[in-house]
Each structure stands twice: as structure tokens, then as C-alpha cells.
């Protein structure tokens, strides 16, 4: 790799970006990130990200592939140690008091395996019991979640034999079973069919209306525009815009605004040989 983070071409600071005010994490926010850095070898994956996710918001994290979304969310949930920076969840420092912080967060990691030799039901109960609840609670919550996610018929099937979408849903159930205040979902809609996606959206909407906070990372702008009330655009490990969805898109379509912010769109019709007529 020779082109390590080419300097971003100077572009006017988007007026919609709400700069993070205080240098310390905001205790009132559901998730507060301050100047987070992480490098993998030569590559700077996260380059000074600061972000406040207001309590009770439905927050979308969008960015092109390799922008640092997964890295940021991993560090925010105590799964990856940052090189520098601070993260608090409802005022609790994730890296100083991890047990307390993690009790408030439900995580869905993109690309992580599950304990897939368990049945779906066993897996969710396992997740519940791991977070410290008693068995009757875990069992009844699991039943509720399986019903909510329309997985009852697959409850007794080994997770290894699930389809991609079902796997995503059972992972979501694992993330929600301990009734977290904050759900951090990395690519929750990837390879989920439209009906299940709509159901998941409804469930997350209900979760937010019930006072919870949801952060989703996604490539699907349309989904984020319809679903989220707040959005942050990340590219090359930096936040280029953040705030309420309507502010960030500034009258335009979120997808167009995203492409404009991130750059890299080339207007051309593709090479000659690819054209048929």
C-alpha cells in the first residue's frame, strides 16, 4: 500500500456539521466519543472521531467501505482498544468501567461468528444468562424475542444451518436480550430480506419510542434517511458531517449529499468494451 490516506482535497466545511462542543465526553448523551484514534500498522483506520449520540435518538452511521465505521463502533463498545480517545455510554467510561458500560449496551458485530452449534433458542438464552439474568427471565425473554423476530419455527434449528438473514436476526436477539439502553448495530440489514428488514425496523423504532437509543451503521442511504433521525457521515476515519438527518441532507437526497460529502463519484459511462450498443 503506497497511497496511505491521501490528503482529502480541501472542500468547504459543510454548514450542517454540528461541531462537538466540549472536549470532555457529554454525560447526557447515550454515547459520547471524543477524539478517538486507531491505527492498524501504517493505516489510520480512525483518525480523531468525536461524536455525540443523543439519548433517545435513532442514529445512523454512514460511510463508504473502509471508512472506519466498524472500527469506531468496536471501540465504542469495548471490543477494540483505542490508541487514544475516550468513550462514554450514558456517562460511564467504556474503557475505565467496562462492566457497567457493557451492561447498558447491546452489540451486533458485523462479520463476527456466533456460537453456531447451539440452537437459535439456546444461543439467545446463553446470551441472556451470560449477562447475568436468571433462567426464567432469560427463557421468557428469548421466547418473546423469537416471536418478535419471527424465528419461532427455527428456534430448535442449529444456528449453523440458518440462512444469512436468520443469522442476523438471531444475533440481533442476542444483542437485545439483556434490555440494553443503547443498541449498537453494525450493518444490521445486510443480507436481510425486505420483509424481515421492515420487521427489524419496526422493532428498532419501538425500542427508540420506548426510550432506548439505537445506532446503526449502514450503506443503504435510503434506509437511513427513512429510519434515522440523526446521522453522521464518516470517511477516511473522520466525521465529515453529523447532526439531525434533515440538517445533514440540507434539502437534498441523503444519498446525493453523501456522495457529495464523501467524494469519489466519477461521471463517466465506463470503458468502451463494456458498452453493448
Amino acid at each position: 500500500m503506497t497511497d496511505v490516506n491521501p490528503p482529502t482535497p480541501p472542500r468547504p466545511t459543510p454548514p450542517t456539521s454540528t461541531p462537538v462542543a466540549s472536549p470532555d465526553p457529554d454525560p447526557a448523551a447515550a454515547l459520547s466519543i471524543r477524539t478517538l484514534y486507531k491505527s492498524f500498522g501504517e493505516k489510520r483506520a480512525v483518525d480523531g472521531i468525536s461524536l455525540d449520540v443523543p439519548a433517545g435518538s435513532f442514529y445512523g452511521l454512514v460511510g463508504p467501505n473502509g471508512a472506519g465505521k466498524t472500527t469506531t463502533l468496536s471501540m465504542a463498545t469495548g471490543l477494540l482498544r483505542p490508541d487514544a480517545g475516550a468513550v462514554t455510554v450514558h456517562g460511564v467510561d467504556v474503557w475505565q468501567r467496562p462492566l457497567e458500560a457493557k451492561a447498558q449496551v447491546g452489540v451486533l458485530s458485523d462479520g463476527a461468528r456466533l456460537f453456531d452449534r447451539l440452537t437459535g433458542e439456546q444461543l439467545v438464552i446463553y446470551a441472556g444468562l451470560l449477562s447475568g439474568m436468571d433462567r426464567p427471565t432469560a427463557v421468557s425473554r428469548t421466547a418473546d424475542l423469537l416471536q418478535l423476530l419471527d424465528l419461532q419455527t427455527a428456534a430448535g434449528t442449529l444456528v449453523v444451518d440458518y440462512s444469512a438473514g436468520m443469522t442476523k436476526k438471531i444475533a440481533l436477539a442476542c444483542a437485545m436480550v439483556h434490555a440494553p439502553r443503547l443498541l449498537v448495530l453494525d450493518e444490521p440489514f445486510e443480507s436481510v430480506d425486505p420483509v424481515s428488514a421492515a420487521n427489524i425496523r419496526d422493532i428498532l423504532g419501538g425500542f427508540v419510542r420506548g426510550g432506548g437509543t439505537v445506532i446503526v451503521s449502514s450503506h443503504v442511504m435510503d434506509l437511513v434517511q427513512r429510519m434515522c433521525d440523526h446521522v453522521a457521515v464518516i470517511t477516511s476515519g473522520r466525521v465529515v458531517a453529523s447532526g439531525a438527518v434533515d440538517e445533514v441532507r440540507a434539502g437534498a437526497d441523503l444519498e446525493d449529499r453523501f456522495v457529495e460529502l464523501v467524494g469519489g463519484r466519477r461521471v463517466q459511462e465506463g470503458p468502451e468494451w463494456l458498452r453493448r450498443s
Partner: protein, 522 residues
């Protein structure tokens, strides 16, 4: 196209080495070892110039047959290639025959293939006295090596062609393991029964030279012995073998290209919690339930379980031929030793699923206790039972208390030490659902390193029990045995407690770093 496939294979090999320095070092050490062995083989082949033709023939035919057999069997355990397998290539419009050629050549340039090819070609080196035969040997060497590579391909593709269901693959992987473990006794048994007849090996070589495995290797020596007809017949056998193997491979590959791996599943009813309904509902309790479920459901763990009954069987065999009953009784502590060390790969086997433990903030100590108690639940009864059963079989009860002490000390101590080492190091392990015999480049060296450290510590910790066992055996006084039993239980429990606590603390601190490594290995 053929060149592209070959280049792809080499590129994948190079890139997989670039990901981690440790892996690279491991591969270099492995490669040097391979080169050393190869050098010895080539040297030996040249040295055979001074041997009579009959001896040369026996050696080359037997070694060649064994090599060919190895290439047929090994791919069942170690799928040689993941990148160039049928599902990955199915999307590209590559003509079947081109694909076959490409796969064949890329098999030859991979490390095992290259070593086989070089060693086979150098069989010409033994024929410096007859240049004509040397040329023939060169050709036969190439044909033999190609047959080896083709055979391994044919076996893999035929296996996938026959059934691609998950259950079948997993069951086959475990079942095939059993005869392999017992291979030693089987060979020893046949060898000892044949030992009486003096020229068993030449006879065996002669028999093998008529089989598909050995025919090609026998052609040069047949000519050298002045038997052109025999050489022609064996050449025909060899050619027929190559043709059949090629056709089977072609059939299997054509089938595999249009039959992707599919899932077959047994569905249980909702509400069947299995072990999760029976264990205490604390984090440690459910982790034990989960691990125990895995021990009986995941092929990677099952393979280790199979060892429990096989080890005593193996030692029963050896003790019956050497008439040393003590050898049989050692199997109790030995099983304990194996099971105690089993935890060393536990987090590596979890792979990135371990993230669940992290995101649910499971205390490291609960994690350690859960995993250790899963092994204890079946391991302790198994070890005690084996010790008692072998004592009954050998009708020798004197050393039982001391052996039990050592066994329990080894089991508890092993679990304790592994609780620490497995929190410090994770290494590339076969992924969940992969063939349990698959090894990843560099995995062995990393595993060996931590295994040796674990064994070293374990040996020191169990020194009192070992000494007491020896004392009780030499003095013949029961008392020492009972002391050993008490010491084993007490010392083992202390080690496990300390190990779980220390390992738990390390895990709490190092979990994010372990996860990074797991993600790299996944």
C-alpha cells in the same frame, strides 16, 4: 488460463504468509525442515547406487507405494487447498479440461507437491550405473508424482461429489480418525506376524508392484532386472491407474461445480434447552453448559473425545505385546494429561464468536471456571473409570491410589495451567465447521510453543505426584500411594483455583487484543 490458476495459487500462498510475521517464521522453520528431509531423501537415493538392484527395488517400490497411499489418505484429513476448490471457481467460465490441468500443476507447485515431485524425479539418481534405466526412472518419477497429486484431488472431489451435507462431512472426518489412531498397532501386528518369514519386505514389494499404488515405481527396476515383459505389464497397470484416477477426478470436479455445499439439519422443538436447562444460571454455569454442548456436538472437540477410549485400547495392545501391564495402567494419567491440555485451544476454537462473552461483559474468572468445569464434568469420571478398569484388566491394584493421584493432579493442574496460557495466546485453529484436521499455515509452531510451555509448567507442578508414584512403586508400600492421591487432589485444586483466577484477570485485561488476533486468524 492454466498459468493464471498456478499464479493464483502461489499468490494466495504468498499473501497468507504476509499477514503475520509469526506465521511466516513458522512456515520458514517448517520449510527448512522439509528441505532437510528432502535433502536426506535425495542423498539416500544417490547412495543407493552402491546397493544391489533387488534392495533398491524393494526400497523404491515400498516407499513409492507408501507415498501414493499417503496422498490418497491425507486429503481426507487436510483439505489441501481452499482457494482453488470447486465452489470458488464455479463462477468463472473455465473449460473443465483447462481447469483440471491448472489444478494439477498448481498442486505440483504447492509445497507438498513440489517435495513429492523432486523426491520422485531424483529416483533416477540411483541408476547412474545404467543410464537408460535412469532416464526411464526419471519419467516414471514424474508420472508417479503426478499420480499422487491427481489421486489426492480425485479423493477430495469424489468425497464432495458423493455427499456435501454438513453432517456427513463431519461424521466422516471423525470416523476416519479412529483407524488412523490404531494404525500403529495394526502395522505392528501385521509386521510382527510377518517377521517370521525372512524376506517379507521383498515379497511385499513384489506384491505391491502389481498394485495400482506401486506399479509405476517398479518399472525401472523391472527393466534393470532384465524383465521387459514385467515392466510393460506394470506400465499398463500404471497407465490404467492414471486414467481411472483422472476420470474419477474429472467426474467429481464436474459434479462439485454444479453441487454447492448444502445444509442438512435436524430440527428440535422449541423449548428443548438441553444442558442449558440443567446447569446453574450463573455465567460460569452457562459457559460450562455451552462448552459441554460443544464437546459433544462440534467435530473439533469430538475428535479429542474419541481419544479417551482409544488411548487405553492402544496401550492395552502395546502392553499385551510387551507383557508390561504397567504400560496399560499408565493410560489413566495419560488421558488426564490429554484432557487437561484440551483447554489450550478453547478460545481459538470459539473464533470471533468469543465477542459475545466480551460484549456481555463476562468476568474472565467465570469464563475460565465455566470452560474448566465442562471438561471436569466428563473428564474426572472418565479418568477415574479408566484407572480402575485398567487395574482390573491388568489385575494389579497396588499402584491405583498413586496413579489416581497423578491422574487427578494432571487433569486439574492441566486445566489450571491452560486457563492461563489460553488467555495469553490464541492461534490459528480450524474454524467452526471446518475439517477438524485442517491445519493453518503457522498454526503448528504457535500451538507447539504454548503447548510446550504448558507441559513444562505441568511437569513441575506434578513433580510431587510423580515422585510419590515412583517411591510407592519401588518401595511397594501402599502408604506412599495414598499420600500421592491426597497430594494430587489438593495440589491440583490449588493449581486450578490459582490458574482460573490468574487466567481470568489476564483475560479481563487482554480480551480486546485476543479478539484482534482472532479476527486476523478468522
Amino acid at each position: 488460463m492454466v498459468a493464471t490458476l498456478v499464479r493464483l495459487r502461489l499468490l494466495v500462498l504468498r499473501n497468507s504468509l504476509k499477514r503475520s510475521v509469526g506465521q511466516l517464521i513458522a512456515v520458514i522453520i517448517g520449510g527448512l525442515y522439509g528441505l532437510f528431509v528432502l535433502g536426506l531423501v535425495v542423498f539416500g537415493l544417490f547412495a543407493l547406487n552402491f546397493a544391489p538392484v533387488e534392495l533398491l527395488r524393494t526400497i523404491v517400490v515400498l516407499a513409492g507405494s507408501a507415498l501414493t497411499l499417503g496422498w490418497a489418505i491425507v486429503p481426507i484429513f487436510l483439505p489441501i487447498e481452499q482457494t482453488l476448490d470447486a465452489p470458488h471457481l464455479a463462477v468463472y467460465p473455465i473449460p473443465l479440461n483447462t481447469l483440471l490441468t491448472g489444478l494439477l500443476i498448481s498442486g505440483v507447485v504447492a509445497i507438498p507437491g513440489a517435495i513429492t515431485m523432486i523426491a520422485s524425479v531424483f529416483t533416477f539418481g540411483s541408476w547412474l550405473r545404467m543410464p537408460g534405466v535412469a532416464v526411464l526412472a526419471l519419467l516414471c518419477g514424474i508420472a508417479g508424482a503426478l499420480l499422487c497429486v491427481m489421486l489426492s484431488r480425485a479423493v477430495t472431489s469424489a468425497a464432495t461429489g458423493l455427499s456435501s451435507g454438513r453432517r456427513f462431512r463431519e461424521a466422516a472426518g471423525i470416523l476416519i480418525f479412529i483407524p488412523l489412531v490404531l494404525l500403529g498397532p495394526i502395522i505392528a501386528g501385521t509386521a510382527s506376524s510377518l517377521q517370521n518369514s525372512k524376506d517379507v519386505l521383498p515379497n511385499l514389494a513384489d506384491a505391491m508392484s502389481w498394485t495400482p499404488l506401486g506399479a509405476i515405481w517398479a518399472i525401472p527396476s523391472q527393466v534393470a532386472l532384465g524383465d521387459p515383459l514385467g515392466a510393460v505389464l506394470r506400465a499398463l497397470i500404471g497407465l490404467a491407474t492414471i486414467a481411472v484416477v483422472f476420470l474419477v477426478w474429472r467426474w467429481g470436479l464436474a459434479r462439485a461445480l454444479v453441487t454447492p455445499v448444502h445444509a442438512t439439519s435436524r430440527v428440535r422443538a422449541q423449548g428443548k434447552l438441553g444442558l442449558f436447562g440443567r446447569f446453574p444460571d450463573t455465567p460460569a454455569g452457562v459457559i460450562a453448559a455451552r462448552c459441554l454442548t460443544y464437546w459433544f456436538r462440534d467435530p473439533r472437540y469430538l475428535r479429542q473425545l474419541v481419544v479417551i477410549p482409544l488411548l487405553p485400547l492402544l496401550f492395552w495392545f502395546y502392553s499385551s505385546i510387551s507383557h508390561a501391564t504397567f504400560l496399560l495402567q499408565i493410560s489413566g494419567p495419560l488421558v488426564a494429561f490429554v484432557l487437561g491440555g484440551a483447554l489450550i485451544a478453547d478460545i481459538s476454537y470459539d473464533s470471533t464468536a468469543f465477542v459475545l462473552h466480551m460484549s456481555k461483559a463476562v468476568p474472565g474468572r467465570a469464563d475460565r471456571w465455566g470452560r474448566a468445569s465442562a471438561v471436569l464434568i466428563f473428564g474426572l469420571p472418565a479418568v477415574v473409570a479408566i484407572t480402575l478398569i485398567t487395574a482390573t484388566a491388568g489385575d494389579s491394584w497396588m499402584p491405583v491410589p498413586a496413579l489416581l493421584g497423578l491422574a487427578i493432579g494432571l487433569l486439574l493442574g492441566g486445566l489450571g495451567v491452560c486457563s492461563v496460557t489460553s488467555a495469553v495466546v490464541v492461534f490459528p485453529a480450524p474454524a467452526p465447521g471446518d475439517n477438524p484436521f485442517k491445519t493453518r499455515p503457522g498454526a503448528n509452531t504457535a500451538l507447539l510453543g504454548s503447548t510446550f510451555i504448558t507441559w513444562g509448567v505441568l511437569a513441575v507442578i506434578n513433580l510431587p505426584e510423580i515422585v510419590l508414584l515412583i517411591v510407592s512403586l519401588t518401595t511397594g508400600q501402599q502408604l506412599w500411594g495414598w499420600i500421592s492421591l491426597v497430594v494430587g487432589i489438593v495440589l491440583g485444586s490449588i493449581t486450578l483455583t490459582i490458574g482460573a483466577r490468574l487466567g481470568g484477570r489476564i483475560l479481563d485485561r487482554r480480551a480486546p487484543e485476543l479478539l484482534v488476533q482472532l479476527q486476523k486468524d478468522a
